[in-house]
Symmetry: D2
Subunit: 296 residues, 4 copies
């Protein structure tokens, strides 16, 4: 039964586990740890079989659960940014001298605003490198390519052009995602070294952003901001101990995506967390305060 | 079973009907008509018993179903505004010389933005009355009181102050609502002569805006822009022919409100429809084009 | 020669001084001091004659010159807010238990956005007073009445309604001003206990907000954000040592107001300074960090 | 005396004429006509000598004076868009099958918002070409590259990438300009076939967008939205019949740029005019109504 839509490897893993029972699945592992007090779950997809079974490309998928952090907004933002930064660095490996950050999504749709807004919180430094005061920084460029409907250009086309111009060591692509469970919407961040593939995310980008298409490693940072209505109903049902008479009964509602009514405030908070976290991961010499001073 | 939350009299009527069976309910009537091609359903609550059974104050509730209008955006907006204007006039009765329009809601939350944004499409004319060119217009004032959390003032307190200052013949209050069914979100407009009572709407205003509290007739114009997650699940279930093992199984999720992910664009369209419709209802001498010329 | 337009008592004083020469003017005094490192000039208008000569109501006018503060944005904002807070407290006298803040101006015009935007940085607390945690706070309400052209309501009418509802000990009215000199635009804050009178400010409010009209003390906080084009030309001339062939030669250009091209960023910074400063002046028990925590 | 800053060839021509007297200047011509009721002045720079004398690259510069159009906003917008469209077509020559529109400027600074905002009013059609209904349209892409300070990428780098991807027949670059005279701010549109060169415009782009750098014709559409303070003073002086004691007296103020205080509303109106005009020039099969229907 595949009516449940999710972009989170963690949720796909749980669905697969539920369908297959307890046995080990070859090439698939799940481990848990804490970073700065934040619960982080890592799903590794290491074989072609596991990739097919899960419906996700091979790679590492780290999921941060922000519900495990304190409620106080300022402390929460800082701790989440530090955790994200450390998790992202573990995927990046040795520091990059030059990076291109891409904020994907549609500015005209609040739940899809996460990528462009997070990008606003990441200081571009490439043009400052000639100044002595900034010579120790990584050279970061920040692109927000907009959406095909208003530009006529695929995001992937614009990213390829920018990669050509700046020749970065790596690309970090930020995007809004769909999750299976309402409780994970705006409370979860997924990091991956598998890039971004067509059909995922809120906005259904057609062109892939991966090491294969761009020639450099592509780290993906995603935040679920929507859930589809039918998936939501199925999950509330499960919790309540009920079940559907037939698996495809909700098929017609599958593509209606919903989002919490306070999505504006949540996207703002998450944009700061993601922006600061990515910025810190790329600028290893800077504290959070120094990073923020570069933006204002 | 009252776990299904709705601000629409039409939906409350259907739920009551489903619970009570086919027999006539005293003091409650439902009639249907078409205005400018738009289906309009009128629920009349005429007895105290009917009011209690329905959970709505006595009065007339007109529901416009915008799904019965053409898809072309320009034609749709115009037809919907004309239908809304005619329906609202039927509740107002003889033309008002002086009116106060109130756009309720929180500008910082997209689904609650309907009231303030609609108010932007209604020309204020009270200060123009001394100019000869505008002497035949109704004197309209437009108030957007904001929300208690950022002002420290109840909307009702500000409306009372404005009523004191302008002494209007009537008040029109515009607000976002919660509906039971996702399909009615952003496709329906409810007009009523019963005012606005505490606890309804997206934003839970504490003070009532009614003829009793303000001393003049209060017309309410509401658009459902959210649905609560549990109600949504129950309705998808019903459609699929399933049912819950026990009535209260979803109680915990009751207050999580969701909204379509493209709520930004929908609220924009509906704000124009509601603004133009209310403007036309108040300015009977003006065409839609003349009304719009007063705003730009 | 009165072609030079200014809302700043400090500038009016200098123009009067230039016209009259060095002699003492009865009932008019000017003193200087430093608050938190910020230069503050106080002009006192204490006689009817001085009031007429200056064209300003009797009262105290304190001008903060933000150019005397450090360049670092965070330090500058904090120091300016502290200086503003202390200067405002000196005008208020004993702490107010209940206050109404009014953010005047037009949201659709950037240089006039100062009042509404500053209001967003002042926490409304009146509705929190029943909670024990907030019982020591002053009860603050925050009103942003909009402009006559879009509401049909005078700001003064709305303020009277709010004064009626909350019965404050005092009113603080925030507004954008016009200055004579471009260099004072967005670098100066004027505080006064003389209220706000018709015809001043960027937006030309018709109704006065004074102790006479509202029945409680009215403190005015103003920031010059525009300068009129002819006044600007005259001042650049003076500096260059040139002079006009005839005094009224620029009369036709008198009412074209101009503003710096980076007015957006400057209004944002000043809104924070004014909002925090007013908030601190009203909430004497709170530090700047505690105040900000109430807003986010 | 070259302290007067202007991006308008028309103003540079008048300054040169004033300095040189009445004699003919080789390779420089000025002609006037009317398009849809709008006065259009064409300056042609046809020799290297004329180019040096004027400080502008060789090419044609058409200036539309919108003050010659009716005051009624709707009629004015339509007439201006039609005039702009016809003037631009005269520079383009035979219809382009594929075009790239570039909206230059900083979204965070109102007077520099003209380019990005105008771009929002131009329908992207490149991705629609495979649909039969749109097969007769020109394939238009729309890029808004942002500014170096927030992206780390030169606009020219991004444009080159997009030119690589879409291989357009021509590029249309829209930008905000500085004019010498306040009365031309937001009342004038300059079209040119000479592209955009470093140092012009409000935002001082470093990389040129010209046929030489991009390999395809580059049409520039510019609207003056700022004037520098010293130039403004000099011009008001001239009008008043006064003159400065020494030419460089105002040098220190040279780089303070000012803009009208109602710049928000003016940029909105001009963005629609420029967007519709460029859209019509590129889509010769469409009426203005059909063009607008593609955007909403």
């Amino acid at each position: 039964m595949t009516t449940r839509r999710t972009d989170l490897a963690l949720e796909a893993h749980a669905l697969l586990r539920a369908a297959r029972g307890e046995g080990r699945i070859n090439g698939l592992s799940l481990t848990e740890r804490r970073l700065h007090g934040c619960a982080v779950t890592e799903v590794r997809v290491e074989s072609e079989g596991a990739s097919r079974a899960l419906g996700k490309p091979r790679g590492a998928y780290l999921t941060l659960d922000l519900r495990t952090l304190p409620d106080d907004p300022a402390a929460r933002t800082e701790r989440a940014a530090l955790a994200l930064s450390e998790a992202l660095r573990s995927l990046i490996g040795p520091p990059a001298k030059t990076a291109l950050v891409v904020g994907l999504g549609n500015r005209a749709m609040t739940p899809d605003l996460l990528g462009p807004r997070a990008a606003e919180h990441i200081p571009a430094t490439r043009h400052l490198k000639s100044e002595a005061a900034f010579s120790s920084l990584a050279a970061v460029s920040v692109l927000t390519p907009g959406v095909l409907g208003t530009t006529g250009l695929e995001a992937a086309e614009q990213v390829r052009g920018a990669v050509e111009a700046v020749r970065p060591d790596l690309v970090v692509a930020i995007d809004a995602l769909a999750s299976q469970r309402l409780e994970r919407v705006c409370t979860t961040v997924q990091l991956s070294d598998a890039g971004i593939v067509p059909g995922s995310g809120v906005g259904n980008h057609r062109g892939a952003l991966t090491r294969e298409t761009l020639g450099v490693p592509v780290l993906a940072v995603g935040v679920p901001t929507v859930v589809d209505a039918a998936t939501l109903a199925l999950d509330l049902l499960d919790e309540a101990g009920a079940s559907l008479p037939e698996p495809d009964a909700l098929r017609g509602h599958e593509r209606v995506m919903v989002t919490p009514r306070d999505i504006d405030a949540r996207v703002e908070e998450l944009s700061r967390i993601v922006g600061f976290g990515v910025g810190l991961a790329l600028q290893r010499a800077l504290s959070l305060d120094e990073l923020r001073a570069l933006i204002d």
